[in-house]
Amino acid sequence: MEAIRNALDVSDFPKIDLGVALAVLVFLFCFPFFPHSAFAMATMIQFFIFSLYGMGWNTIGGYGGQVDLGKAQYVGIGAYTTMVCLLRWDIPFWFSMPIGAVLSIGWSFIIGYPLFKLKGHYFAIATIATSLVLKDLFEVWKFVGAARGLGILPYKYHPPDFWRLIFKEDIYYYYIIFAFFIVGLLYMNWFRKSRLGYQLRSIKDNEEVARSLGINVHWAKIKTYAIATAFVSVVGSFHAVYIKNIEPEDTMSLDISILIALMAMLGGAGSLWGPVIGAGVLIPLKSYLKEWLGAAAGLLGIDLIIYGVIIMIISAFEPRGLWGIVERIRRRRRS
């Protein structure tokens, strides 16, 4: 199985990267055994969820250079599919998750086909628009609870329920999403050196050259968009059973879309570690800022100001994010 060998192949990374990555993984694995607050635990789970969203974004947005600001619509499709399946027909998570992914991919083809005729900013704006339209539709759609959304009542089930992913203790969620995280990392490690991965980077480099090398640019983008979508949808399904209450204004809001893109960009778009670094910085920042400032001084919304500042700093100084800074230093040292 060449694919599995390639997913595990990390020989092109410097030793220090692998050392740091391993240390971080060991820490993440052991984290629940250290004394911690429930709040820290929740923040860690959010970190995993958003790193995975960011990895999905990174395929099309980072390697492909197509800035997508509409990922929340796929969070929504995944989350709602799982929720509706559970509440209406008692379909457990492990079945509703792939159903959600298939629906998301279907939707991504429908909107991806026309969307990828657009370039640059126009594409970015169009992704925002489709996402907002879908959100508005969900807000008036009675079948999915309209604006009030849907909620799981945990006492109706018998936690720990591994089929429906309903638990009382967060530690179960922690290890499940940790497993997703590992799979996500391995997938991305395979993807970045796959045929499609190289084709995308070539497209980002120069579309004319890419076409002359036999790459169907439009189709390659649509395919990758579907991959990004599946990633986000699967994690969206998990998100739903974890937070247990979803409504369009939360799950599918523009904030989520921007946060996903921002994390990947802050960490380093188009690199394996980028989304993880971005989520590692932004999610704790967001949680603790809300906790300390928001509640204390009524400064809700300050996180949005901080995002704005971060966007400006990235675009002005280092478009390749924090990882870009690391690479630049390395490059300078070599030469």
Binding site: R195, N206, R211, S212, L213, V217
Partner: protein, 249 residues
Amino acid sequence: MALLEVHHLVKAFGGLKANDDVSFAIEKGELLGLIGPNGAGKTTCFNCIAGMFPPTSGRIVFDGQDVTGLPAHAMARRGLARTFQVYTAAGDLTVGENVLVGCFMHTHLRSSAKSKADGILDQMGLKEFRHQLVSELPVAAQKRVTMATALGTDPKLLLLDEVAAGLNPSEIEATMAGIRRIHAELGVTVMLIEHVMELVMNISHRVIVLDYGRKIAEGLPKDIARDPQVIKAYLGERYVREHAAEIGG
């Protein structure tokens, strides 16, 4: 049998006819030069053949099949590769990765694409640069990268767009040897646009001349060099009048 036939090719941009009724053919195994003053429509002709945009009218037949209007990626899959005059590689692909992209055209497997790319890098003398960005290389090496990348797709016909522009004499010599090697060892039919006359006149079996979008001459390099029409296109009417004796003799 002709590998490529171009019949009455016309490409108009608005009112400007960049190519006007151009017809020619390339035989399998040939080395064909395409010359002409700046703005004569050489690159437009390449772009039409390579499917970068469809011709306004006319027919293009490649390897026995009508390929008029096929998109560039489909042309590449049928065995037509090209290089670009200005290779803007602003991205983060290294030399090795650039070549790898071409090699991925015929295979999904990373290992086979990789070993093929390694072979091409070696052949083209790019091994030492493999981990560098294309933009960091000297011009001559950049030109070799564009050729190496195109070769990764296993072309039957290779279109070279000014691969010797901006090179010094010894580099031109090396490029010439490189093209000959590609032609002879890999059995690739080559068509090249070139302003560097010593190269194009030296290695082409046959030369076609474009001027103002029209084909004004076609023939052996030694005949083309003495063709009054061609000299007029390059050097102007007056030069031809004043030097009529030399050209005629």
